[in-house]
């Protein structure tokens, strides 16, 4: 199969997407960006404390008060700052959706929301700590850019790219250490609103975001061994969705699978389905959390329990192809 310049299965030292945040902030400050970063008593986990160590005047913690943090972020942005606000995805947007809606989205403030610990891969902390609905909330806000990086390298690209405009962003990061699929890629491949084409085949298209990109690549390699050519798109931007690439994939492959660590309602799959329904209806299958809450457990065991695996993507691909 054509690999488009990709290593077959990467074997780098793994890293969590959240680990990109602190170093990215420091790089932005060192480059002279007028940034301010806010945390809400979770700075060691988000990595915001790394900015505090080197640029203490540019970092504030508001304590465990996410609503206050978001409105403070809006006020800071109104004075011309580029503001990053970080917490866990269950608390931001969970605790402060109204503040994000009125003060960040409606006012179109230059605030980048960095939501760490997204999805069920948080692991042992269980259902209350596992955000499975954050993408639904954030994609429903007019003007909000919503991004889910696939590895720590892409997370670094996206976090720093966000500082280049004055729009509101939501970037979802994760807790577990993942393989680096962009190992050794020097030029940023992240473009807001653009899919990254990983494999360009024509039997079926697999569209994934976040930690489902790497297993989706493995699913494509497994399908290839059965003679099925799978196109793979890394859809790091959920909104604005790369509709042109989705339509092209539907026209050229005739079957779509979406894979995400989110409720199947309201995330990547919903966004793609909306595009397909309007422009190019083809069979589509979803790999995601089937409308139920999470629970405690090791994160890899949770991914298996909830069907977020390469094997699930392979099965979904075969179902989609059979419906052509």
């Amino acid at each position: 199969m054509s690999s488009n310049g990709w290593a077959a299965i990467p074997e780098p030292p793994p890293a969590a997407t959240r680990e990109a945040y602190g170093p990215a902030l420091v790089k932005l400050a060192e480059a002279g960006h007028d940034i301010v970063a806010l945390d809400a008593d979770l700075s060691a986990s988000t990595g915001g404390n790394k900015l505090a160590a080197s640029f203490p005047e540019r970092w504030f913690t508001v304590g465990a008060a996410e609503q206050n943090m978001i409105s403070i972020a809006a006020g800071l942005a109104s004075t011309g700052k580029t503001v990053y606000a970080a917490s866990f995805a269950v608390f931001m947007p969970g605790h402060c959706f109204d503040q994000i809606r009125v003060q960040i989205a409606q006012q179109r403030m230059n605030v980048k929301l960095i939501a760490s610990h997204g999805g069920i891969s948080v692991g042992e902390d269980g259902a209350s700590a596992q955000a499975i609905e954050d993408l639904a909330l954030m994609t429903s806000l007019p003007g909000m850019n919503v991004v889910v990086p696939s590895d720590a390298v892409e997370a670094d690209w996206a976090i720093r790219r966000a500082a280049e405009d004055d729009e509101p962003w939501y970037i979802r990061l994760g807790r577990p250490k993942l393989p680096i699929i962009h190992l050794g890629v020097d030029e940023p491949r992240f473009e807001l609103g653009r899919a990254e084409v990983i494999y360009l085949e024509d039997d079926v298209t697999l569209i994934a975001c976040g930690l489902m990109v790497e297993p989706t690549m493995r699913a494509a390699e497994s399908l290839a061994q059965e003679g099925i050519g799978a196109r793979v798109l890394n859809m790091a931007t959920i909104k604005p969705l790369d509709e042109a690439e989705v339509i092209r994939a539907a026209e050229e492959t005739g079957a779509i699978v979406c894979a995400e660590e989110h409720n199947v309602i309201g995330g990547l799959g919903s966004a793609v389905a909306r595009t397909l329904a309007r422009h190019c209806p083809v069979p589509m299958e979803q790999v995601g959390i089937e409308d139920r809450f999470g629970q405690s457990g090791p994160w890899q065991a949770l991914l298996s329990e909830y069907g977020l695996t390469a094997e699930s993507v392979v099965e979904a691909a075969k179902r989609a192809i059979a419906r052509k």
């Binding site: 609503q67 006020g75 109104s78 004075t79 503001v83 503040q99 009125v102 003060q103 006012q107």
Partner: protein
Amino acid sequence: MTTTHASTVDIDALLEVCKRIRRHIVEMTHAAQSGHPGGSLSATEIFAALYFGGVVRHDPSNPLWERRDRVILSKGHATPVVYATLAEAGYFDAELIPSFRSLGTELQGHVVRNRPAGVEMSGGALGMGLSFAVGVALGHDLDDVPEDEGQIFVVVGDGELNEGQNWEAIMSASHFGLPRITAIVDRNHFQNDGPGDEIMRIDPVGDKWAAFGWSVQHVDGHDVEAVRDALLTARACTDAPQVVICETVKGRGVSFMAENPAGWHGKGPSDEQLAQALREIDGGLT
């Protein structure tokens, strides 16, 4: 044009401004047959003192002037008093006022940032203004804006203090040490469902702010000279955030609204009621 810190502002002129603001409030809620007259009439002297009493540094011809003070309406439903004041101050043509709440208007039901120019923050969801002010103050401190510039005045409702986010913000303003911020409580004792003391008691409200590290003043919120003096005192304070608790009457200046404040939280007067209201307003506060 910028205002000055003039303690010599003519009080008779301020009283006339209050009448004009009140006229606009009842006329626009009458035109829209909706809106929030009660909590606008209670805040009339507060807004007159801010904009016409020499308290706020601002420039209607340059609304985004970098060295301006900011007035933030946290009780974001009280748009009639804001639009009336901004029109009187010259931010927009008063002929726009009857378009209040109509399709396509700049004058939305709840405040929208920069619509019209002079509105500093979008609101309507209660409890966010003080937090926003904390962010503005932190930004000004980072930019080394002098202490006597970039002051921030936040008008909050007493019912609004039910919202927990206020207390997060009150705690953080003293924690961060932000004397640029002056909160103004429109203490009109009524909220949407009825008397505040019955819905959710907030007394001793001044003691609560003081316990959070704020400097507290109490004032008759319908004595425009006293309100002006309290705001100037707060403006000059450089060692703590300040709150001015303005004792007010919901619907003040219109007898049938003041006598039934819960009934006039969110509706507009009829033709006959408008005529009576305008007669009473022209007579001045008694």
